[in-house]
C-alpha cells in the first residue's frame, strides 16, 4: 500500500513553504497530527495562523489511508 496524500498550501502559507502543493506518503502521517507533521517539515510554520481542511472539511485530524487531500488554509479574506 503506497497511498499518497496531496497537501495544498494557500496565500501566506504557500509563500512560506515556497510551494502550492506536494504529494506525501500516507505513512508519514501515522501516529502524528497534521500540525505536527507540518511543524517538522516547515519549522516556524506554527507562527502563522492557519486552519487545516481534510478533503474539503475543516478538521485537525485525518485518517491517512483514506485521505485524498490536506489543505493548509491561512486566515480567510473574502469580501
Amino acid at each position: 500500500m503506497d497511498h499518497k496524500i496531496n497537501i495544498v498550501y494557500f496565500g501566506q502559507i504557500a509563500e512560506g513553504t515556497g510551494k502550492q502543493s506536494e504529494m506525501i506518503e500516507a505513512k508519514e502521517l501515522h501516529n502524528k497530527s497534521v500540525r505536527e507533521f507540518l511543524n517538522q517539515q516547515y519549522p516556524g510554520i506554527d507562527q502563522y495562523a492557519f486552519t487545516i481542511a481534510v478533503d474539503n472539511k475543516i478538521s485537525e485530524i485525518c485518517d491517512p489511508e483514506n485521505t485524498r487531500e490536506i489543505a493548509v488554509l491561512p486566515p480567510f479574506a473574502g469580501g
Partner: protein, 145 residues
C-alpha cells in the same frame, strides 16, 4: 452546481443584468444587495492599489453552496445570488456581489447580513493586498462582533 467564483472584478452592468432578470418574478417585493469594494487603505503609509484573490476553489464553491442552502432554509427568500472575484481587483472595483430577493423586506435584510458574515468567515478565499511600491500584505477578515 452554480459557480460563485469568477475571474476579475464584478461590473455594474453585470449587477444591472442580474436585477433585470428578476422583474418577471412578481412575487418579489424587496431586493437587498451587498457589494464589497476594494478600499485604498493605507498600510505603513503605503496605499493599497489592488487585491489579488486566490481560493481553494473546490472547497470554496462547496461551502458557498452549503451557505446558500442553509440561508434558504432559514429565511423566506425567492432568490439568492453570490459572486466573488478571483485574481486581481483594483481599488474601487467590486469583488463581492450578494443579492437576495424576498416577498418582504425583513427576510431580505436578515438574509443578507447572514450571508455576508458567513462568506467572510467560512469561505477559503485569500487576499493579497498589493501596495503602491509593489510590496504586499495578506488581508485578514475580522468578525463583526
Amino acid at each position: 452546481m452554480k459557480k460563485s467564483l469568477k475571474e476579475g472584478q464584478i461590473l455594474p452592468e453585470f449587477i444591472a443584468d442580474s436585477i433585470a432578470k428578476h422583474q418577471h418574478k412578481t412575487n418579489i417585493g424587496a431586493h437587498q444587495i451587498f457589494l464589497g469594494q476594494v478600499r485604498a487603505d493605507l498600510i505603513d503609509e503605503k496605499e493599497v492599489v489592488a487585491i489579488e484573490y486566490t481560493a481553494h476553489e473546490e472547497m470554496a464553491e462547496q461551502i458557498i453552496h452549503e451557505i446558500r442552502e442553509e440561508t434558504f432554509e432559514k429565511f423566506d427568500l425567492t432568490c439568492m445570488h453570490i459572486y466573488h472575484s478571483l485574481g486581481r481587483v483594483e481599488k474601487g472595483q467590486i469583488c463581492l456581489f450578494v443579492f437576495v430577493s424576498s416577498g418582504h423586506r425583513r427576510a431580505a435584510n436578515e438574509a443578507i447580513v447572514h450571508l455576508v458574515e458567513a462568506i467572510k468567515e467560512r469561505v477559503p478565499i485569500f487576499g493579497k493586498e498589493i501596495l503602491e511600491d509593489g510590496s504586499h500584505v495578506w488581508k485578514q477578515n475580522t468578525s463583526l462582533s
